[in-house]
């Protein structure tokens, strides 16, 4: 028989040990001390339960908000004029505006390729007394201030019983709700006949001055749309401008006041951000759903970080516990380490065995923690829904959402915590002198 050369076909030093054997041996070693393994992994379980619960709450709430905001339209911006601070009222009874939303601005925005829609709006003052006159009879009405369009996604499309919605920028049309017609003793059977008829919007100042604005009735919508149980009219922009000009006795109202707001729908979220930056740079006050969402997101991140830190602290404590367990294991198994080295285990093999064992403690704790965290989220979800139902609040949302990546991250993190905790004990084990280890009693 001849001596075989080094690094023969049987394997190379430092390698050799297969991953399967590594895992199996580590599991066997952990299985010898089930109680100790379980106790060592409890810390990881607590940490991971905390983290999974908190992060799943963050994901759930954010997802819920994102879907709500998404429905509002993330590409929508709303621009407002800038008023002077600490200045007395102007002739319009409000602080003067120093930066106006002009037709030029509207034109400029509409000319942009990344703007799908730019819709200005004018608000009628609350003090304005508005009457609706049909066939010589009059009823007091309130204007529906919000323009439908990109402005206000909250508003549902009203249900029209006759005619159709107000065409945008239509010069001389009005829509009314059924309540207004009811107040005028007009029966539902007469609705269709009214469409296209001339009605008159009447303004009256407290001094007694009257202004009559004849408009064509274009549609009749259900009372349940808009402020309940009020007689409501919707008016186009030209009609409003005419009313405001008379009300304030100003022939150049737009030139002096500008529009009250401007709704912009951008082609994309990215475009919306660019337009927002551009308008803000020019000094306008801009609201966007995205800005709100960003704020919410930031708040959520702060919350998640805080709660995550609690879990992180638990994991740190857990890692100390694991390290302690592994150091004890090295002491206990010193002689075994000596034997393993004598029969051909390399320092790397020994290190790998202890690191994997330690990582497995983390993984076991992480697995249990993830399951419990998921169950806790489910339980809390039910509890919240039960409370909401009890409070008669309608909620469909799921607040705790455990995603695949959260499970993967939790398991990975737990394993990493175990692995890091095992590095020092494993290094000690690997460094042991085989002779000293064999003599260890």
């Amino acid at each position: 028989m001849t001596l075989r050369p080094f690094d023969s076909a049987q394997g190379r030093p430092g390698s050799g040990l297969t991953f399967r054997d590594l895992i199996k041996t580590s599991f066997d070693n952990l299985g010898r001390h089930k109680v100790r393994t379980a106790l060592s992994s409890v810390g990881v379980t607590v940490g991971i339960v905390t983290i999974v619960t908190m992060v799943s709450l963050g994901i759930g709430v954010r997802k819920e908000m994102l879907s709500s905001f998404d429905a509002l339209g993330l590409e929508t911006l709303r621009v407002f004029p800038v008023t002077e601070e600490r200045t007395a009222f102007d002739s319009f009874g409000e602080p003067p505006r120093k930066l106006l939303l002009t037709d030029e601005l509207v034109g400029e925005l509409r000319a942009r390729g990344d703007v799908l829609e730019a819709q200005p709006s004018l608000l009628l003052p609350y003090a304005m007394n508005i009457g609706l006159e049909i066939d010589g009879r009059m009823v007091v009405v309130r204007p529906w201030q919000q323009d439908s369009g990109p402005t206000d996604p909250f508003v549902l499309e009203p249900e029209f019983l006759a005619g159709e919605a107000l065409p945008r920028d239509a010069p001389a049309v009005v829509t009314v709700n059924t309540r207004a017609l009811k107040d005028l003793d007009i029966a539902e059977s007469e609705y269709e006949a009214l469409i296209g008829q001339e009605v008159v919007i009447v303004l009256r100042t407290p001094r007694g001055d009257n202004f009559r604005l004849p408009l064509e009735l274009s549609g009749i919508f259900d009372t349940h749309y808009g402020p309940n149980d009020y007689a409501v009219v919707t008016l186009g922009l030209p009609a409003r401008l005419e009313m405001l000009s008379w009300w304030y006795n100003s022939h150049d109202y737009l030139a002096r006041r500008g529009y009250d707001s401007l709704s912009i729908r951008a082609a994309s979220l990215n475009d919306a951000t660019q337009i927002l930056d551009m308008l803000e740079a020019r000094g306008f006050r801009v609201q966007s759903v995205k800005v709100m969402l960003d704020m919410v997101n930031r708040a959520m991140i702060v919350l998640e970080t805080m709660l995550g830190s609690v879990g992180g602290l638990a994991l740190f404590v857990a890692s100390v516990g694991i390290a302690n367990t592994m150091v004890m294991a090295v002491y206990e198994r010193t002689r075994e380490i000596g034997i393993l080295k004598a029969v051909g285990a390399s320092p790397g093999n020994i290190r790998a065995l202890f690191v994997v064992e330690s990582a497995l403690i983390g993984l076991i704790g992480g697995f249990v923690g993830t399951v419990f965290g998921w169950l806790l989220g489910k339980g809390l979800d039910r509890l919240i829904r039960a409370i909401m139902e009890w409070q008669e609040i309608q909620v469909q949302a799921t607040f705790f959402v455990v995603t695949g990546w959260l499970v993967a991250a939790a398991l990975g993190f737990a394993t990493l915590v175990g692995l890091l905790a095992g590095l020092y004990p494993a290094a000690r084990a690997a460094r042991l002198d085989p002779l000293d280890a064999l003599r260890y009693e």
Binding site: M1, Q10, L340, A342, S346, N349, P434
Partner: protein, 228 residues
């Protein structure tokens, strides 16, 4: 390739113990031929176990050279020593040094795990060695369920399973009664004769040493006498 299996040149080993030191070996020169059965004898503290540990790559000399199969062990790094222990030598200890949680079969298969031999093949090879050593009925017994002689035979099977050319035994019969010890020595002698295994054993028992082709007597860390 030279014909010697082990060549020790001016081997020194000093153990530092705080401020004091002990010279376990003081210039040992020894050559063991391939297939030779050599017994190292001598009083305790004479350095015989130290020689065995150095040849086995469990320890490093303070000075001198160790050549095993024309490879200079003293020039090897940790990887080289690991490879040496893994492939070239098998150890048999006085206290058997079996892992108590493993069965006889698993204990014997253990060294092959570190060579990356797959489990099925490991077990097959381990079973073969155990059967050859008359332990076919003891495969799934744990060391505590085996007699001293059986445990030592399991340990010998473990030392042989990676098919090393060199077997190192440190007082292999020290924990056994005379009859069992004699059986173990006959087994080792047979392995030496039949397999051409180079055998280096440490003993203070003259009856045990009598099985060897050559007896090397150490005294105070030096070779005092060599003879058949």
């Amino acid at each position: 390739m030279s014909s010697f299996a082990i060549h020790l040149i001016n081997l020194h080993r000093r153990y530092e113990m705080g401020d004091a030191h002990v010279d376990a070996l003081r210039g040992v020169n020894l050559t063991v031929e391939q297939g030779e059965f050599v017994a190292l004898v001598g009083p305790s503290g004479s350095g015989k176990s130290t020689v065995l540990n150095l040849v086995g790559g469990l320890d490093r000399p303070t000075e001198g050279e160790i050549w095993v199969d024309s490879v200079e062990l003293t020039a090897q790094d940790e990887r080289g020593l690991t490879a040496h222990r893994r492939h070239r030598v098998g150890f048999v200890f006085q206290s058997f040094n079996l892992l108590p949680r493993l069965t006889a079969l698993e204990n014997v298969a253990l060294p092959l795990m570190f060579s990356g031999v797959l489990e099925q093949e490991r077990m097959a090879r381990a079973r073969g060695f155990l059967e050859q050593l008359g332990l076919s009925g003891r495969l799934s017994h744990r060391p505590t369920q085996l007699s001293g002689g059986e445990q030592q035979r399991v340990a010998i099977a473990r030392a042989l399973v990676a098919e090393p050319a060199l077997l190192l035994a440190d007082e292999p019969t020290g924990n056994l009664d005379t009859t069992t010890g004699g059986e173990i020595m006959s087994l080792l002698k047979a392995l030496n004769a039949e397999r051409g295994l180079t055998l280096l054993i440490v003993t203070h028992d003259h009856e045990v040493a009598a099985f060897a082709d050559r007896i090397v007597r150490l005294r105070d860390g030096q070779v005092a006498e060599e003879g058949a």
